[in-house]
Symmetry: C2
Subunit: 363 residues, 2 copies
C-alpha cells in the first residue's frame, strides 16, 4: 500500500528521463524541473497570482522561453478555471448585418484574450437551444446571442446557470437577461414621417415574418407615424420571395388608391421589392417612393440610391461583447438585466424623393 505512490513517481521520473527531447509539448513540470523549482512556482509566475522572488521568477521565465512552454488551455479550463472562450449564436452568417456584428464580437474578444465559438441557429429555436447547451458543455465563460423567433425561444436564465448571457439585436422573453437593441420603432417612425413630409398619404409597409421582434417593432413605429398623421396603415407580412413581392405590389398598384410609397422591413425584403419594382417597370421615386430598414454597402449604387434607416451593426456587437466581458469579470449574474438601446441614423438618398446629390445623414 505504501509502494504504489513510490512506484508511480519513479516510473514517471524515468519516463521523463528516458525521453527528455521527445517530441511532446512541454508541461509545467518540465519547466519546473529545468528551473529547479516546484510546479506551483511556475504556475504563480505565469498567473502573477502570488509574489515570487525576482530571482526565481527570472529562472522560471528563462526555462519557459527555452522550452517554448505554453500553458495548456484545456487543462486550465478543465481544472475549473475560466475557459477563456465565449459562445456566439446567431441566425445566419451570410446576412451582412449579422456578419458585421460577429466581426465586432471577435474583435472585442481578441482584445480580451478570448476565443469565440460561433454557431448558427437558422432562426430555429430548437437548434438555438441545442447549440446553447453545447456551448455550456464546453464551459464557455459567457454567451452572446441574437435570439431567433422570440415567441418560441427557449432561452432563459435558468438554462445558463451562473454563466452570463447577453442577447442583442433582438430580446429574449426572460427579463433578467441583458439586452442590447437599436431604436427599431423610432427609426421606422422617423423614416415614415419623412415619407409623409414628402406628401405621401398611402404608404405601405412590406415585411418579413411578424414573429421577428425587429420586424414587429419597426411595424409599430410605422403605425405610430401613420396614425399620428391621421393616415391609414397598410402593412403586408410574410413577404418571403421576390415573386411574392411582385404579386403583392402588382395587386396593390392596381388598387383604386394605390400606395405612392413603400417601406421595407429589412435588407432581404428590400431586395425582393427592388426586384419586383424593376420587373413591374415601376419608376422610383416617381411611381413609388422607397425607403428601407438597414443600410448596406451598395445602397448608394442602386437605381436610384436608397434611403434607409442605418443600424450600427458593429457598434452593437461591440457593446454587447463589452457588456458580457463586464459580467464575466465581475462574476455576477444580474437579477434584472440591463437594456441598452442604441440610436439609429436616417440616410437620405434619392429613393424617397429627396434630390440630394450625396447622401444626407440625420442622427
Amino acid at each position: 500500500m505504501a509502494k504504489p505512490p513510490a512506484g508511480k513517481s519513479v516510473s514517471k521520473a524515468r519516463e521523463r528521463a528516458l525521453a527528455p527531447v521527445e517530441h511532446r509539448k512541454p508541461t509545467m513540470s518540465d519547466v519546473a524541473r529545468l528551473a529547479g523549482v516546484g510546479t506551483m512556482t511556475v504556475s504563480r509566475v505565469l498567473s502573477g497570482t502570488a509574489r515570487v522572488s525576482a530571482e526565481t521568477a527570472v529562472r522560471v521565465q528563462t526555462a519557459i522561453d527555452q522550452l517554448k512552454y505554453r500553458p495548456n488551455v484545456l487543462a486550465r479550463a478543465f481544472r475549473g478555471q475560466r475557459s477563456h472562450s465565449i459562445g456566439l449564436i446567431l441566425p445566419y452568417l451570410y446576412d451582412p448585418f449579422f456578419a458585421s456584428c460577429a466581426h465586432a464580437v471577435t474583435t472585442v474578444a481578441r482584445e480580451h484574450g478570448y476565443s469565440v465559438i460561433i454557431t448558427t441557429s437558422n432562426e430555429d429555436p430548437e437548434t438555438e437551444f441545442a447549440e446553447a447547451d453545447e456551448m455550456l458543455q464546453r464551459h464557455v465563460d459567457g454567451v452572446l446571442v441574437i435570439p431567433s423567433r422570440i415567441r418560441h425561444s427557449r432561452l432563459a436564465r435558468s438554462l445558463f446557470g451562473k454563466t452570463p448571457v447577453v442577447a442583442f439585436d433582438r430580446p429574449v422573453p426572460d427579463p433578467s437577461i441583458d439586452t442590447v437593441l437599436v431604436q427599431n420603432a423610432i427609426g421606422s417612425r422617423r423614416i415614415t414621417e419623412h415619407l409623409i413630409e414628402h406628401g405621401h398619404r398611402h404608404i405601405t409597409y412590406i415585411a418579413l415574418s411578424r414573429s421577428l421582434f425587429t420586424i414587429s417593432a419597426r411595424f409599430a413605429g410605422y403605425r405610430r407615424a401613420m396614425q399620428d398623421a391621421g393616415l391609414e396603415i397598410c402593412p403586408i407580412f410574410d413577404c418571403t420571395s421576390e415573386e411574392m413581392a411582385e404579386q403583392i405590389l402588382k395587386l396593390k398598384m392596381e388598387h383604386d388608391t394605390p400606395p405612392t410609397a413603400v417601406i421595407t422591413s429589412n435588407t432581404l425584403v428590400t431586395r425582393y421589392v427592388l426586384g419586383a419594382v424593376s420587373r413591374l417597370g415601376l419608376r422610383v421615386p416617381s411611381d413609388l417612393a422607397f425607403a428601407g430598414f438597414d443600410d448596406f454597402d451598395l445602397a448608394e449604387f442602386t437605381s436610384p440610391p436608397l434611403t434607409v434607416v442605418r443600424q450600427p451593426a458593429q457598434e452593437m456587437g461591440r457593446v454587447a461583447a463589452n457588456l458580457l466581458f463586464d459580467r464575466i469579470a465581475r462574476g455576477e449574474t444580474p437579477h434584472s438585466g440591463n437594456r441598452i438601446v442604441l440610436p439609429v441614423e436616417i440616410v437620405l438618398r434619392r429613393s424617397c424623393g429627396c434630390k440630394h446629390r450625396a447622401p444626407v445623414v440625420i442622427h
Copy 2:
C-alpha cells in the same frame, strides 16, 4: 503512507453521499453509482467502443436519462481525445464573401457534431500566426484558413504538427497543405474575352493589393486574354478607396485613347469604381463598360445591373470543411496536399453591354 489512499476514497464517498442532490453537474461516476456499475461500463455505453450486455446497457441508459447526464467535453478533450472543435481563420467577417464561406463551414461542422472557433486575421500574417497558435493551444482537431497575404504567410505544416489544416480561397506557400480554390484566372480570362467580343480594345483592370493571391491570379487571366487578342494590358493596382478610384478613372478617361471598359478585381473595388463612375457622371456601358469579380446580392439592382464572375462561396466552404473532416477522420497528414479547384460562373447582366432583360448565367 497507507492511509492517504483510504482517507481519500472515504472523503470522496462521503462528499457524494452528503450532497447527492447538490446542484452540480452529474459526472460519470454519479451515473455509474446509480446504475450500480463501474464508470468504465458507462464510458463504454457512451462511446459504444466495446460490447456491453444489453441489460446493463439499458440500466446505464436509464441512469443517464434520469440524471440528465451529459459527458464533459472538456474532460474528454483534456484526456487526449478529440476536442470536437475546429478552428476557422479568415481575414474579415464583414466581407459577405468570407461570411458566406464561414456560414458553410459552421453548417458542415454541425453536421459532424463539431464546434467551430472562429477568428479574424485582418489580413495580417502576424495576427494570423498568433491565432493559429492559439487554436493549437486549444487542441482543435483541425484548422481551416483563408490565408492572408501569401508572400508573408508564416503558416506551414510544421507549425501544425499532426493537426490537419486546409487553406481555401487562397493558397499557402507550403505545398503539403490541402487547398481549395476557385478558377480565378479562368474566370477573369473569360470575362475579359467577353468584353473583347463586345468590341472593346482598351480594357483596364483595376485592383486591390497585388500581394493577394486571388487578385494577382485574376490579373493573370485578364492579361492572358488581352495578349491572346493582341491587345495591350492596362492594369492599376492598390486602388484602396473610392477617392483613389475617382482620380485614377478621371486620369484614364482624359487619356488620348481612354479605356472603353473596366474590370474590377473584387467586390470592394467594384464598389469604389461604381462610386467613381457615378461621381464622374460616366454612363455605363456606353461611356464605359463594366465587369466585376465576385457576385453579390444586389448586383442585379445597381444601375445598370452588373456583369460579374460568380464564385461559389458556400460551396468552397463546404468542400474545404469536408476535406478537413476527412483528414481528421483518417488521422492522416498528407505529404503532398490536395489542390481542388472549383469552377466559376459568368453572370451576364447589362453593365458589359449585353441587352438581356434577365441575367444570363454561363457555366
